[in-house]
């Protein structure tokens, strides 16, 4: 909302500089975005001049040499406007004047003739867009009169970002009332207090009629009729005021409707009544698919909920949004019908969104105006119609009330509630002052107030708490509010849940292991699963799709973190990075939850899944399966190359070591099993389980996937946070006695077929070793000719321990035989 300061001051002059007023407005809840100066930066050196003579320039066809009286004498001004003529009273900029934009005017020679100033067109003063003709002023003005006495120059305009609840401040008068409330400066009488005399003949209802077929969508429709209308340009003051407020002047009738709207917040619409057959208007909803051409020359297709104002030939305007061309006011118009109606805000909002058409009118109607505002706007506009268009108001106002409006709201404002909610006291007499200045009626009843809400605030102030806000903000929240912390009923003992602490630990753990944390986009390209070679019937191919994405490649919610990590890696590699270790801890979104707690071990986990597994607090479950993941990707070496070696490119085992270390940091039992994934190297892919629960994958990224992202090679993992943290024992451990008898150590070399997994060998040994075998860890792998085709040798270090004695050679020897026998069942032999 642009509010020219001179206009505002007509109703309430706070008597302070505009900057000071702006500051006060900001601190009471009206956001002043900026103060714009319209017109030249200063009024100095702008005067009224009289053109004494205007002669053809001797050397230029399009220039005229004028003699202009400036109040002190005469001066020569060369002018390019074709319509400049002797006898005109004009606006003159003298040398030294600063033009809008700041340029300083100097005496200049134009084709050999010195010009001591400039005769101005409307746009040069920013009081309109007209550049063709010069600005001709009232001839009663004396030469030499400062121009600022005629039109506002250097006009400060407050640009206020009005919040949607304050519909009253979408009008200059509403802003003036607000200024009155916060400054206590006097407020002038309402500009609609006195109606104009109806000097026309007959009755409005003789020449016009209004039928409302949809009363609930059109609670009120008022119309006035004017005869003898002369359409022409508006006077300078009106054009200047509209221009400053951001409205383009068009003609006096249209300008009057805009002026009345900007003043009262209530939009109006003028019809050329001669173009309305029979003067009969009907308000109805459109037929589905009905078409009409709006004032902006666009043909619009309507739906059945759009409300129209129609004559017998069809629509003349989309109600509350934009008029049509059929009955538009033109230079020939002499009979005008002024429509001031009230529309259903929700319906206007819906239709304007559907049509993609937002106007000054619709942006006000959509916030729900009060029907009582209609006549205010009629009165303001009627006066100007008579004054500026020579029009005669036909007696009688057509007033169709579709839905009678509610009685003014009466609210009780409890004194105890004011201080109880704010934590500061506001004297009752002050509360009354603030509310009355805002237009409310307030009567004291003991500590409390009985308050009546004015129509402009009817839909905004509906409860006691709304009144508390009003008195608080006028009183001055920043200035008066004490600073306290919650006392008796305050919070006790904040903290993180165990799950939250473990999650931080996991993120810190990956960071400690050398991985950089990234934050990827939740949006992705719906073709991403295909780029990852994921088949279309995989749940990871059915993404949550957005109905109104910013672009096609941001129209799906990711089902895997891997895609974002590959994106980030590709961008960094393109910038020259040769070593990347990235991780992300964030959510993926699946239309349907995967089978949760899929059990791959023997032990079932009954831990609650919690928010990381998509189980959030609240009565309604999350609409889609939202799972928190921890994912990592390595490109190039994990550690840097150095003068002492290192710098080997990350492979399956180097990243597996990272994941194992992560699990160890959390005290989670982790296991791996060969399992292909479409986006992984088929021979270097593993399913990861944590605490016996399937949790995700680990592997080298398939070369075709790498190629799709312009990467040479990459290794990564992606696991669900819920099973990771569910399996974590960190923080919950109990002491195990360490003062046992000395352990016995023995190494075994086992030859098995290549197809037998190391895990299987280890599990077989541990099974056969029984209680005394404490651990068995692989420390060497050997494949060679002497073993024969298809065989490998694994070396394992065994630790035997007994809680109650030192183990003898016989103890260990016996177990060794049992292990040897067990290994034979999986095709293994011991190398001696």
């Amino acid at each position: 909302m642009k509010v020219p300061y001179s206009w505002l001051r007509e109703y309430c002059d706070p008597g302070v500089a505009v900057e000071e007023l702006a500051e006060r407005l900001v601190m009471t809840g009206s956001e002043v975005e900026r103060i714009e100066v319209v017109g030249p930066p200063s009024a100095q050196n702008f005067i009224v001049g009289k053109v004494l003579s205007a002669e053809q320039h001797p050397d230029a066809d399009r220039l005229r040499v004028c003699t202009v009286a400036d109040g002190e004498g005469e001066r020569t001004i060369v002018c390019g406007a074709p319509d400049v003529a002797a006898g005109q009273t004009v606006a003159v900029a003298l040398p030294g004047a600063r033009m809008p934009g700041g340029e300083k005017l100097r005496t200049a020679k134009l084709r050999g003739v010195a010009s001591e100033g400039m005769i101005l067109a409307a746009d040069e003063l920013e009081v309109g867009e007209d550049h063709e003709g010069i600005l001709v002023l009232d001839e009663a003005l004396a030469a030499g009169t400062p121009l600022s006495e005629v039109i506002p120059l250097a006009e400060p305009v407050l640009e206020i970002e009005v919040t949607p609840n304050r519909i009253d401040c979408f009008g200059v008068h509403g802003v003036a009332r607000e200024v009155h409330a916060i400054s206590a400066a006097p407020l002038a009488a309402d500009p609609w207090a006195e109606d104009v005399v109806a000097a026309g003949e007959g009755e409005a209802s003789d020449v016009a009629s209004v039928a409302v077929e949809v009363p609930e969508l059109c609670p009120r429709f008022t119309a006035r009729v004017f005869t003898d209308v002369t359409v022409g340009p508006s006077p300078l003051w009106l054009r200047a005021r509209l221009s400053a407020a951001g409205q383009r002047p068009i003609n006096n009738v249209v300008d009057i409707t805009n002026y009345a709207m900007l003043l009262t917040a209530q939009p109006l619409h003028a019809f050329d009544l001669d173009k309305v057959p029979g003067g009969a208007l009907t308000v109805r909803t459109a037929a589905e698919g009905e078409k009409m051409t709006t004032l902006d020359d666009v043909e619009r297709t309507l739906d059945a909920e759009t409300v129209l104002v129609c004559d017998e030939n069809g629509p003349t305007g989309i109600a509350g949004i934009m008029g049509g061309q059929v009955s538009e006011v033109s230079a020939e118009t002499t009979l005008v019908l002024l429509e001031v109606a009230n529309w259903n805000g929700t319906n206007i909002l819906r239709s304007s969104r559907r049509l993609g058409l937002r106007s000054e009118a619709s942006s006000r109607f959509e916030k729900q105006l009060h029907p009582e505002l209609c006549l205010r706007a009629q009165v303001v506009a009627s006066k100007l119609m008579v004054e500026l268009c020579g029009a005669k108001l036909v007696p009688g106002t057509i007033d169709v009330v579709g839905v009678s409006w509610p009685e003014p709201t009466r609210l009780r404002l409890r004194g105890a509630r004011v201080s109880g909610l704010l934590g500061m006291e506001i004297a009752q007499s002050d509360q009354v002052d603030y509310l009355e200045r805002l237009g409310f009626a307030a009567e004291a009843d003991g500590e409390d107030l009985e308050v009546t809400v004015p129509p402009d605030r009817h839909y905004d102030v509906t409860r006691e708490v709304d009144l508390i806000e009003e008195v608080a903000r006028v009183h001055g929240i920043d200035e008066h509010l004490p600073t306290t912390l919650p006392a008796a009923a305050g919070p006790v003992g904040g903290g993180l849940s165990r799950e939250q602490r473990l999650r931080r630990r996991a993120e810190d753990g990956l960071r400690d292991l050398g991985f950089d944390q990234v934050v990827g986009w939740s949006f992705t390209d719906p073709r991403e699963p295909a780029r990852l070679r994921i088949p279309f019937d995989d749940i990871r191919s059915s993404a949550v799709m957005l109905s109104n994405p910013l672009s096609e490649d941001q129209s799906a919610m990711r089902t895997m973190v891997l895609g974002s990590l590959l994106d980030v890696a590709a961008r960094n590699v393109a910038r020259g990075a040769d070593r990347l270790a990235l991780f992300e801890a964030a959510s993926v979104y699946l239309m349907e939850a995967p089978p949760t707690g899929r059990n791959v071990g023997t032990e079932t986990t009954n831990r609650p899944i919690g928010p990381l597994g998509g189980e959030f607090r609240g009565e309604r479950a999350a609409p889609v399966a939202e799972l928190h993941r921890v994912a990592a990707l390595a490109v190039g070496p994990l550690g840097g190359r150095s003068w002492r070696g290192g710098g080997e490119t990350a492979d399956f085992f180097s990243v597996k070591a990272v994941l194992e270390a992560l699990a160890a940091q959390l005290g989670a039992e982790i296991a791996f099993a060969p399992e292909p994934e479409p986006f992984l190297h088929p021979g270097r892919a593993a399913a990861v389980s944590l605490g016996g629960v399937a949790a995700g994958w680990l592997g080298e990224i398939h070369p075709l996937v790498c190629r799709a992202w312009d990467l040479d090679a990459a290794v990564g993992f992606e696991i669900d946070a819920a099973p990771l943290l569910g399996a974590a024992g960190a923080g919950e451990e109990t002491y195990e006695d360490v003062t046992t008898f000395p352990a016995a150590y023995q190494d075994l070399a086992v030859v098995v077929p290549t197809t037998v997994a190391a895990t299987e060998v280890r599990a077989t040994i541990l099974g056969a070793g029984g209680e005394l075998l404490h651990s068995a860890e692989v420390f060497d792998l050997f494949e060679g000719e002497q073993l024969g085709e298809g065989r490998k040798s694994l070396a394992l270090g065994l630790e035997f321990r007994a809680p109650d004695r030192t183990l003898t050679d016989e103890d260990v020897g016996g177990l060794r035989e049992a292990i040897k026998a067990a290994l034979e069942t999986i095709g293994g032999t011991l190398r001696e």
């Binding site: 809840g29 956001e31 609840n165 805000g345 929700t346 909610l421 934590g423 500061m424 708490v465 508390i468 806000e469 903000r473 920043d478 509010l481 600073t483 306290t484 919650p486 305050g490 919070p491 006790v492 904040g494 939250q500 960071r511 400690d512 950089d516 944390q517 990234v518 934050v519 990827g520 949006f523 799709m545 957005l546 109905s547 109104n548 994405p549 910013l550 941001q554 919610m557 980030v568 961008r571 910038r575 990075a577 270790a581 990235l582 991780f583 801890a585 964030a586 998509g614 959030f616 607090r617 609240g618 009565e619 309604r620 609409p623 994990l638 550690g639 840097g640 190359r641 003068w643 290192g646």
Partner: protein, 352 residues
Amino acid sequence: MLERIEEIRAEAVAAIDAAGSSAELEGLRVRYLGRKAELTGVLRGIADLPPEERGEVGGVANKARKELEALLERATEAQDAAELDSQLLADRVDVTLPGAPPRPVGHQHLIARTTRQIEDIMIGLGYHVAEGPEVEHDYYNFTALNHPEGHPARMLQDTFYVQSHPDVLLRTHTSPMQIRAMETQPPPIFIVVPGKVYRRDSDATHSPMFHQMEGLAIAEGLTLADLKGTLLAMCQGIFGGERELRLRPHFFPFTEPSIEVDVSCFQCGGSGTLAGGERCNLCKGQGWIEILGAGMVDPNVLGFVEDYGYDAERVQGFAFGLGIERVAMLRHGVPDLRRFFDNDVRMLEQFS
């Protein structure tokens, strides 16, 4: 005799002092303390002295011997250490070479860091951390937060909707968790809610995805003044103990009264002018930086959870929401919101 002992002693002390190797020291030990040494002879011959001399000579000789023994031992130790050092020195390395192989160092994303920092401040004030879904029901994102259907307030935020589920959207703020939390926990409640939020807007100052931190406090007798104190504590925790707050009334559908909060600029100290006299670029000369929106929870919102123990006549409280990126940008001088999601490692590695 006594004079002779003193001569031997002085001679031996000088010799030990001058010795340059452990072999030399061993020679001196044999020479002055060995079986054939003169001092040893003196001690051995004490019995042959006249009785009146025996005591004095014996004492002096013994004292000299002990002194020489101690001296020799100390000199030998020192000599051994010096010899070891010279061997070690031959084994020297270039300490200016980099540690090898280098241990990779990971970095925390600024958003994660800032989120944690604010969480920790609020935990210190007695709050718990709660998390809600990003894909959310219209009911939690709008309706229950006093944005009725068809209300212009819904237009304030451009919302992403989910295809073929018109009532499902990407949450436009972390506020839906207010309702979820109150549905599952009776008052008093003191929580913060960090997380991703989405708005259909993309330019230098708007990202379609960003992060917020919501705060919610409901109990008996909480006031707007308590909100101010809480926010002051939080902002001082983030931006430093000297900070002050400025509260401007505002409008949010789910709080009443609502305020926008500015924090005094930590670069210019709120003066708007830098030491050199030029205008402060951070606050654009205003001295204040807009940092968050807040207010007293609207009774209509409590009306949606009345059945869970939230009677607006009995309990009241406040809510606030701040942008994590905005805090991170201000704290670390990041010029453009979009940098956070570009994940350029050259930027990531600036923040240890």
